[in-house]
């Protein structure tokens, strides 16, 4: 830890404007923007730090961009602060050094109006093409809740084919509406026959401006807001957010709350991986796997419902602890339910390892080499199959129970789709192991001590991160002592992972591309229950269904 710090200090001798050590794991270093490229090159190439994300902030008097680098061996985050003018501000690009920084520079460019000379492609990433020019929604003079008038007829499709290189190439569109991606993302596959030559990725169909909304919400309300980012990672975002605020406060939460947090986080991981496994089966045309995986996901969702009252949006996280306790008397029943899925997991493991056709479809397909994984800064189960043994749960473990229980990081070597499947299946076994240990410890702790009281959020900044099922989620918050965050930067894992499809999907066939694009597990959302209709008549309406759901939860809670 000290070694790395000393190296950075030595390299940047005399050029560090300010070195602020908030705590041993969070360093904020101010440098001049002209030194940025050299610093980045040194950190990324020489020291092997991983680029997490950049945060752009409008300070009204000037613009600030913070480049966050993570040391994945020790879990220390070095954040390099750079300032520039508010109007017409420029910061040299780092996207030619780190491919993973391409998108964030485009994003800061369109949302805050900072220019990045040297970055060739600064076209819009998230905003609609019809959005007026020169209006930057993340600046502070853009009032919260303001609406822009949209032109009457808008063609919001990006210009297809404009970038197509040679002739004889056809564009196969995957998205914005496609059975493969149930969420609106748009992959243009440039194909030559069956072979995919190039992949162009277009985003922004679903941009909801959550970072801006967050600046208008109270600290406690933001936990519920970030939960809505994704229905499947619905506890990872609040988890990382409360960790960020606790990092700002320097708070340590009660032990019981730590175990409960980890239990919920791991339940989410299992159900998310099972969901993905099912979808992967579906993408390969193996619908039986799809339905079976989702059937065996049900007991896991029941567990979540038993603990939190909800199948997907758990609302368990709270600054200073958790919102609900787990009753010690229910733990034995829950353990039984949890361990009932182990045999199903073993069956899936066997099916994947033994089925020759699954192997033929996934082995050596969509390979992401270790080198590309590093350049694109991918994380989680997209990086680990490429041989990068990195897991936030091992290195940044404050205020969660991962340091208190015994478990292993799963990593494989080849980086192909097969390894990604295997990696996710093995991770579920580890998750079961973690939850079982947490349950055992919970039984020895007194019920009720689940939360520290937090009244004021003082001035300061904090970074929280958590290993979501898809990789590291990243939350940065800054407070000026008021009751809302001044800046709340959120980076979901797919933001880094999806970009790596540029290399992983190119070179294969269209059939390969389908499963490769899906193998990073882009996020899907499913929240509501249904209305039941029988023979054309409404059998249960919305209210009745809610009542039935509540009764089911009650029934489960009553069961030992």
């Amino acid at each position: 830890m000290e070694f790395m710090k000393a190296k950075i200090e030595e390299k940047l001798k005399g050029r560090i404007v300010k070195w602020e050590e908030k705590n041993p794991k969070r360093h904020y270093i101010e440098i001049k923007k002209d030194d940025l490229r050299e610093t980045t090159e040194f950190l990324f190439r020489k020291l092997g730090l991983r680029f997490c994300i950049a945060t752009g902030i409008d300070n009204i008097k000037n613009m600030e961009v913070i480049y966050h680098f993570s040391d994945d061996k020790t879990g220390v985050i070095y954040s390099f602060r750079v300032f520039t003018e508010r109007d017409g501000g420029e910061i040299p690009t780092i996207s030619d050094i780190i491919k993973g920084a391409k998108w964030i520079e485009r994003e800061i460019h369109e949302l805050l109006g900072i220019n990045f000379p040297g970055n060739e492609d600064l076209s819009r990433l998230l905003l609609d093409p019809s959005w007026p020019k020169g209006v930057f929604p993340l600046r502070k003079d853009y009032e919260y809740g303001r609406k822009e008038e949209l032109p009457k007829s808008v063609c919001s499709m990006p210009t297809i084919g404009a970038k197509t290189g040679g002739k004889d190439r056809t564009i196969i569109p995957i998205g914005p509406y496609h059975p493969l991606q149930e969420e609106p993302e748009f992959f243009e596959l440039e194909v030559f026959g069956e072979k995919v030559v190039k992949v162009n990725i277009n985003l922004g169909y679903n941009h909801r401006g959550i970072e801006k909304i967050s600046e208008g919400k109270h600290w406690d309300q933001v936990t519920f807001l970030v939960e809505r980012i994704c229905g499947i990672c619905s506890t990872s975002h609040p988890f990382a957010y409360v960790l960020a605020v606790e990092d700002l406060l320097g708070l340590e939460i009660p032990e019981r709350a730590k175990y409960i947090r980890s239990v919920i986080g791991e339940i989410e991981r299992i159900h998310s991986h099972l969901l993905w496994l099912g979808l992967a089966g579906h993408f390969l045309g193996y619908n039986t796997v799809w339905m079976w995986a989702w059937k065996y996901r049900e007991p896991v969702l029941d567990l979540a419902e038993q603990i939190s009252g909800n199948r997907n949006h758990y609302a368990m996280m709270k600054i200073g602890g958790v919102r609900r306790d787990i009753l010690n008397s229910e733990i034995d029943g829950m353990k039984e339910k949890l361990n009932s899925i182990v045999s199903a997991l073993k069956m899936f493991q066997g099916a994947v390892q033994d089925d020759p056709i699954i192997k033929a479809r996934t082995k050596n397909v969509g390979t992401l080499s270790r080198q590309d994984a590093i350049y694109y800064c991918v994380i989680g189960p997209t990086a680990r199959p490429s041989g990068i043994t990195m897991d936030i749960r091992k290195i940044d473990i404050k205020n969660s129970a991962y340091g208190l229980v015994d478990w292993n990081v799963i990593a494989t070597e080849n980086g192909d789709v097969y390894d990604k499947v295997v990696c996710r299946i093995l991770e579920m076994f580890e998750s079961v192991k973690i939850i079982n240990q947490c349950f055992d410890r919970l039984k020895t702790l007194k019920e009720g001590e689940i939360c520290e009281e937090v009244r004021e959020i003082p001035k300061g900044e904090g970074i929280g991160r958590y290993e979501a099922p898809r990789g590291e989620v990243w939350h940065y918050v800054r407070s000026d002592g008021g009751n809302t965050p001044v800046r709340h930067k959120i980076r979901a894992p797919s933001y880094m992972n999806v970009a790596s499809n540029e290399v992983a999907a190119a070179g294969g066939t269209v059939s390969d591309a389908a499963i490769t694009l899906a193998a990073v597990d882009p996020c899907y959302c499913c929240t509501e229950r249904m209305q039941a209709v029988e023979n054309g008549k409404l059998k249960y309406d919305w209210q009745e269904l809610i009542k039935m759901s509540q009764e089911k939860t009650k029934k489960m809670k009553g069961r030992k």
Partner: protein
């Protein structure tokens, strides 16, 4: 007159579409039960067809209209003819003439129509599907012929379906000879491909190219394609039962249908290159071995 009755009522259109709807329901119900789902009501395939025939036909702007229109109709007509031939060989002794060569030719027509229709619809995904369907035919068609040839050799050169049935009814079932058994397995594999079922549904591949050649079809035209599929689900197993098991009955047919459903639900989809390789490197030599065995009298 008689011929028209055969063609339109029994064992042609009316009978085979009813049987097809039932078979399709059985397939969907079994699939659903295998996947822990409830499954559709018994008349669901009929509802599907009825719905399609009340809907609008949307024709893409740049489509080759004549080909686009004719492809599903031609496919449907060919399949009806197959079902009439196959059915009359079983149910009306020699009523409607037809030999296996005609049947095998007619069975290739639905795939050809799919290629024509896909290519005519001026959609990159449809032409993708059409190209894949073409490669599929290249892969399985010859295998299908070798499988049929085994029966032809074993029966001493009989070509008429009704004669092949009566030949086997004297106890010499083709299926129970070594060469016949191998040929039967090959025929099952190609049947799966001809029906467009997993693992050989590459041409349709919903999650890759969104149903491929069918993508631009809607309304009644899609309905004709659907009906050809339903009827094919009856006619093709009937045909295999007749040439390998000496005739059809409910039990034999159900076993064939069960095989289709089981294969469909226990495999992921192959890639087109893998299927080409699989048929030419593995299945074709096996077919040759079967023919050699048959010539040796085994």
């Amino acid at each position: 007159m008689k011929e028209i009755f055969y063609y339109l009522v029994f064992p042609g259109f009316a009978f085979s579409i009813t049987a097809g709807i039932l078979a399709s329901w059985v397939e969907r119900k079994l699939t659903a039960r295998l996947q822990w789902r409830v499954g559709p009501p018994i008349l669901q395939p009929l509802y599907d067809i009825a719905k399609l025939f009340t809907k609008e036909n949307v024709i893409p702007k740049n489509a080759q209209i004549v080909t686009f229109f004719l492809a599903p109709l031609l496919s449907f007509a060919a399949v009806l003819l197959v079902s009439t031939m196959v059915g009359s060989a079983q149910f009306l002794k020699g009523g409607f003439r037809g030999d296996i060569i005609a049947v095998v030719y007619l069975l290739a027509i639905p795939s050809l129509c799919l290629i024509l229709g896909g290519a005519a619809s001026s959609n990159p995904l449809a032409s993708f599907g059409a190209a894949r369907e073409m490669k599929l035919i290249l892969s399985y068609e010859l295998i299908f012929w070798t499988a049929i040839a085994v029966t032809w050799i074993k029966t001493g050169g009989l070509l008429k379906l009704s004669e092949i049935i009566s030949f086997q009814q004297s106890g010499k079932y083709i299926l129970f000879s070594p060469s016949g058994f191998i040929a039967f397995l090959l025929a099952i594999t190609t049947m799966q491909a001809k029906l467009g079922r997993v693992p050989f549904d590459v041409a349709e591949a919903e999650t890759e190219i969104l149903a491929g050649p069918y993508i631009e079809y809607s309304g009644p035209l899609l309905g004709f394609f659907k009906m050809s599929q339903y009827i094919l689900l009856v006619a093709l197993p009937f045909f295999l039962c007749e040439i390998f098991m000496g005739g059809v009955n409910i039990l034999k047919y159900f076993i064939m249908l069960l095989l289709v459903v089981l294969i469909e639900n226990t495999n992921p989809r192959l890639k087109i290159t893998q299927f080409l390789w699989f048929s030419w490197i593995i299945l074709f030599p096996i077919g040759i071995i079967a023919i050699i065995l048959a010539l040796a009298g085994l």
